[in-house]
Symmetry: D2
Subunit: 395 residues, 4 copies
């Protein structure tokens, strides 16, 4: 069950969080806030929620923030927060603005000494990601990328099963993420989310690929620990006039010889956020489905199917730590998101106290994961543009 | 989507919450806190978390509370909070202590002028419930009972479907709540939850009946609006030596002629919190299952089954208000609990501002619902002790 | 896998089957024929398919029968078949006519020396059933009642699990059979099936109770081997003007102390033939659902749910014998029905060869099962008419 | 519901069927027989069930056949049957022997004037398939290929939905067939099925590709009517020493611009015969899963999911014709197989009577479908051996 460092801490207060993005037009900013609030370890004290001053102010007011700590851009936020006494200023910042801001904002906060939580995809392009990794390593600060599906307890247990050999050698991975939210051309109807996510100048070179294809890539990597070696990508834009891909079908070859299929779409009617993964090994296979996330299906030849359920004693420690309530009462998306915040918070707190975080605390996606995502986007686009079947993954 | 009164409020702060119970041995107290935190409208500022001072203090420290506002019993909490300036003292209290404390604590807080959120079953016995209802009515304060399953968006939509006639006249209700947590005799092994919940001096006259049978009774009432007229109960204690029932099977007759089956158990191996309800009408029927709560199955003769999903436009306003994130990403138990807190918070805020809450804000279980639960417990036990098939429901 | 006595038999031919009922207005007669044909052990050679000569003749022609062996009633069938050489005449008869014919036809065929397969409910009333049992015992002929749900492989394995103690002592049974086919008043629209099944002069005293309630009673008995001791029944006719019950809710007490709920309905919108059963024991529980019949769900506290699947090595011999094709390819209703015919055929063949059938061959519902069904109908109606909660089961 | 030409026929007898293959070591032969028997239109009268005389004789005896019509090879069967009077000899033959016999046996029977039902893949290689098509066209006889998944009622309705525009323009197809039966190296353990299916000299050039990949190809084609234009195949042999592929992952491009993923495996632990297909269109999508075959899931954006169920009035005529029993009672694999036989039988009977079969009768896979399967195998292997991403489909 969720617990943490506050119980043994001399740092007798919640961590202070600032936020870039998360204004009234998006949804993910408020998810970050709910996730941050859930376990009572974090309080939101500052934000630059929108580039429009009235929108930023409105969000600040809704959050009952001190108006003096509601900013219009990340630069002024850094400048002003640094003027506050150490105990009052933010301990870390969350960056939930569109993709093209991820790198400059992350860079600025890191260089100013703040820990960072950053939305995915981590940067606008691969080159920024390479540079960001160097900055993180140089500063030694905590940097998390919110590949939030890694926060589900049963995903953590899936990883545990692979790593403890319960599936044998992995031979095949099928990971999918069908959505339908762009089956109508929302970007022409003034929907802000759709506008920036289909705009290559803001979202980067990948559409569906960048937004949800990277979730697939990361989920498979988190669970299996395998690395993609070669990619064969067929990227499609089904919606006439759309500027980025909205459907991807990719064959994969992994470093251990395993084969993979990665498919995602924003055009699959009736699919909401239907990310799911199947991992097949020589001894067993597993199936996890985000829309029913507290169950993990485990298959072996000539044996009954096993359905593992959240919060049971037979799950691994990482799954247990990611669990708040007893069996049968579901935990879901916000709780999974909160598991990233919980681990980030305890890791930051450990650092602030001069401790090393435990392995369980340190379990959240990091800058290398973000970099892998950007490499995947770049490689898939190269593959799509190539006549050759296989394109080597950028390392 | 969740929004609220803070945006238009002159009361420019979070509501202040105190808590009775919720110490380290239980789980529901922390659920209340997570639910209260979720939407950023409430902050926990005081508590008497345990009758053991060290345990109460420990919980207060874990929550980063001012030690001066961590108490050892509800009486001292009331006394001290009343000494604080109005703007600093708690606005409302949550009572999450064992059942026998619900009435005296609720009574004391109400009479001291505080709004109250109380766990179910509302009181130790029916007579207390009758008296409590009078006190609530006299004080005019907000009083909520956390029948939390009413907080799920699809439960709200189920109610909407019944009330808008989409099922026609209701003819049959089947509501079930199988658990297995008492299939071993935990009360003999020092498990605190099991000890008090199987002790008639603390839990009251109903075991399984009081703890989860009342959830069934309330869920059916919330969705259908029907009243039970007659009860035919077979209550069983399967575990040798257990002092309260651990399995109940009850036939019901409703005020419109509908028939019902209500069954619950703490002895059903492999069932976690498997509360589910089916409502059958002359034109259609619905099925809701708590362990997969974001789906509502709608059946009509000679038509495809419809699966309604959370967060879609076709759902009713109450369901939409009870929704935080887009389709496909699940919301679950804590969010449903938070929906009660969200509505309670907006209703309290409205009262504090001299407004009337809206119908959507005012949607949470109240003292009459709590009283109905206590009447159901009493009637079911009378029926079980009777040789006659039907026992009239106490009104 | 299905095999049988023909391989070792000196009786080198298919068994010859006659049929009473099964004309063009019903559906169950053709199900019997498909089931009988499936395994190549039985050929249909004679029938009195309808009391209307033209309808009987038409069915005979559709089946490519010798017109000389198509009759207008069971009496002439018996008379004429007895005139044929032993090797040509029917070996057994299936009675698939309305309920009021079951007894006189069964009696006549048995007394003429023919084995009998009879539809359920076995007779028009309890008294006939008592008499029929005596006749069967006196003649020593094979008599089967087509409680066809006992033919499913996973039902057989469920029984095996109970009988080998995998569930521990059984404490609770919940068995349900909701349908919706009488939610419109088909009996007023000329639908033949609905007309006779709602007519107490043809169907007997039970409507829903007799038609599908008895399936529930039998399924629970087949799986658990327990006997009902006491019944508390609430029988309802929801459709105005209908002459028999169309919805039943019954509490049960079994001879080992187990409690039960048995509910069935013809008024549950959107339910087709949704018979399902849950059996709870002190060590584990199982769940079987006819509409997805090749899966059996097995639950134990603190363990993953197990889903057992048809045709796997881990199933019991009776389940394996009831299986024709490998895993993953479903077998269903007709195959389950055919399993009764397969066992009946091998049992008849054994008798014809002077052998004893094996235990596996002899696994089909018999006259005692039919009698239990009639006792259940009679007892449930008595209970419904009583003010007392519990009515003793007729023995 | 199933009916047929016998009711209006002057050909007042069942059709007579012979069989090549189907001896005691396989399973599919007996499936053919059960399917052929089901509807009472066909009787099995002759067979060359095995190349081993004793095995052929044993099967003939189990089927109660005239020993004079049990043969040791197809040549002697043709020779002897032709000597019988027309009314006594077989009307058609089913070829259920290993793949390398499909072509020579089919050719011989067709040229001898017999209608043919042939297992898939239709021939040993593409060239044989081209020639066989010419022979079928020249003789004008009925030739069916048992792509049996096309026999399921809900598959037929899926096709109907696509063809009536309920999904809009098709943009994406995902079809999968994971099995696990070769996850152990059965071909080294003397398992006959595994031995010939992994032997390129008997099975042909495709392993998993030929055995189940072709089912995927055909199912997608049957439902959508689209043609594959380009293939990008990654074929793998995971089992060391196996001589044919046991896992395939293929990207597809269809003639209307749709994209596809086709994946099959014999190495996916815990998967039995888990063939399933999703078809996505601009207006809606569908999902069909063979292991729960009587349900079809229909998705549209912003609408509840619809679950269509077998035997309901809202299904298309082809689905209704493929249905034997009312709603709720499942039909499955053998029934689907029987639907092919039923349509073949009525088509043959129509031809024998000088009639044209109706469109509904004529609904079964034909020589062109078999040829398409062989083209797909050949193209996929070419693609797998190519460095280029896309390989044009052989036409």
């Amino acid at each position: 069950m969720i617990e943490g460092r506050q119980t043994k801490s001399h740092l007798n207060r919640k961590l202070k969080m600032g936020m870039i993005g998360g204004g009234p037009d998006g949804f993910i900013g408020e998810v970050h806030r709910k996730a941050a609030r859930m376990d009572g370890k974090i309080e939101i004290v500052a934000g630059a929620f929108s580039s429009k001053p009235d929108k930023s102010a409105q969000t600040g007011q809704d959050l009952f923030l001190d108006p003096g700590r509601v900013y219009n851009n990340y630069q002024s936020m850094i400048e002003n927060e640094l003027k506050l006494p150490t105990e009052e200023r933010i301990d870390f910042v969350t960056i939930a603005a569109p993709n093209n801001l991820h790198f400059p904002a992350s860079k600025a906060f890191l260089e100013a000494g703040f820990h960072v939580v950053c939305e995915k995809p981590m940067t606008f392009n691969y080159e920024e990601a390479v540079e960001l990794k160097k900055i993180v390593e140089k500063t030694g600060l905590v940097f998390a990328v919110t590949y939030n599906y890694t926060g589900f307890p049963l995903v953590k247990h899936a990883r545990h099963m692979v790593h403890t050999g319960q599936l044998g050698k992995i031979i095949k991975i099928v990971v999918e993420y069908p959505q339908d939210w762009l089956i109508t051309k929302l970007e022409d109807m003034g929907q802000k989310q759709a506008m920036w996510r289909t705009d290559p100048d803001v979202a980067g070179a990948g559409g569906c690929l960048g937004d949800i294809g990277t979730h697939c890539e990361n989920l498979a990597a988190y669970i299996t620990g395998l690395e993609i070696e070669e990619v064969c990508a067929d990227l499609t834009t089904f919606m006439p006039g759309r500027r980025l891909d909205d459907d991807i079908n990719i064959l994969l070859r992994y470093n251990n010889g395993a084969r993979g299929i990665l498919t995602a779409s924003q055009m699959c009617a009736g699919n909401e956020n239907n990310i799911k993964i199947r991992v097949y090994g020589e001894k067993g296979s597993i199936n996890w489905i985000q829309e029913n996330p507290n169950y993990l299906y485990y298959y072996k030849a000539n044996e009954p199917i096993q359905t593992l359920r959240r919060a049971n004693d037979y799950l691994c420690d990482a799954a247990k730590r990611a669990t708040r309530i007893p069996t049968g009462h579901q935990e879901a998306f916000i709780e999974a998101f909160a598991n990233i915040y919980n681990n980030v918070a305890d890791t930051i707190r450990a650092k602030m106290l001069g401790d090393e975080p435990t392995e369980l605390e340190n379990d959240f996606p990091k800058v290398q994961d973000g970099l892998n995502g950007m490499a995947f986007i770049k490689t898939a686009i190269e593959s799509n543009n190539s006549d050759l079947k296989w394109t080597k993954m950028i390392k």
